[in-house]
Symmetry: C2
Subunit: 243 residues, 2 copies
Amino acid sequence: MKSIYVVGIGPGAWEKMTIEAHEALKACDTIIGYTVYIDLVKDHYPDKEFLSTPMRKEVDRCVLAFEEANKGKQVAMICSGDAGVYGMSGLMYEVGEKYPEVELKIIPGVTAALGGGAVLGAPLIHDFCLISMSDLLTPMEKIEKRLEAAGEADFCICIYNPSSHKRKDYLQKACDILLKYRSPENVCGYVENIGREGETVKVLTLQELRDTEVNMFTTVFIGNSQTKNINGKMVTPRGYRNV
Amino acid sequence: MKSIYVVGIGPGAWEKMTIEAHEALKACDTIIGYTVYIDLVKDHYPDKEFLSTPMRKEVDRCVLAFEEANKGKQVAMICSGDAGVYGMSGLMYEVGEKYPEVELKIIPGVTAALGGGAVLGAPLIHDFCLISMSDLLTPMEKIEKRLEAAGEADFCICIYNPSSHKRKDYLQKACDILLKYRSPENVCGYVENIGREGETVKVLTLQELRDTEVNMFTTVFIGNSQTKNINGKMVTPRGYRNV
């Protein structure tokens, strides 16, 4: 049976990819992905064919993958982070309903919540929520409702897509919702360019985060009520009882 | 400066480890971890020293790591999945306050939510919560509050530790809470022994999940209101608008 690998390549640096992902990329003929991600892996697989479609042309990219597979090529579709967290695996299954002759093999990877968490310390040790601030496909009321719920139930929270050219004040809005339930001193952090050139990291309070402008390459972390700043690292304990 | 690697080895099979994790294990003298995880990696690093402490002796295990590092050994502390998701990195920072001369290098890995998600299809494509049902260190009221919040705000949910010898009915309790907010037909799934021998996978409805007994090696997935069963795969769309 024909198959396509859908591969999460991790948060940036090539070494953050799994061994399984590396084996899949070595074994394929054609690597398809958004140009930024192709640039991250290209030098490691010089003998492969690379294909791409522009940003926001994700459906076209999926169709391209199935069409190439049907030509008899072993295709790998790559995504940054994990294939299944705001990644391409869902859309590949949806588009794939028209291509029942092609099987999908999903290869997971380290998503930014985990990659960024490792840089900050241990912010997500306990129950957490992952919320994207992108309202392209999700109504803002839904996003706000999730922030309210996560704030009230004392989840650690990791925020993806906290900012863009058009959405400069979204992180501020999110912090204002969380400040209804959390102390202004609640420990927070953010990481820019995880595992890439220019990686920067900052641990700060929720109030300070509210007044910070982050860019679109930033992943934001909100601790729960127990999260501590230990010598500049953001650390959430394993529970609510003493160790 | 002395350092300890805290390494997430992924959900099971060795290939699901990152290249960075493999490099760290190759570079160290001593690998410390719970015996089950040591057994998963042992054959790949035959020339290393392996040390362990019994289950629930996590603080002793951390102290052991720092003491060995202080003897001049390069130590790697391993955890299954990711080092920072219910992993050892948080406790290592807490215990490490007494060992300021030792730096921690956290190496992230694929946690069961991502590894299991890849087996099921694409259950966590959109905003999700990770909740552990273990009430050893967290009061049950807190866990229930989080299930309520996640249910109401239409998050995808991944449940860790859904069952144990003493907590046979916890998953049923969790499903009963979610059924207050979700349809009995809400698409769900679970994976046993992710990436290991005996891996089994099942896609089913929330009502069916409620009436299923899972074991302690199981990771459970609850879709959001948009999650679909596409030819036996659990697939969550990217948002609430048409593709």
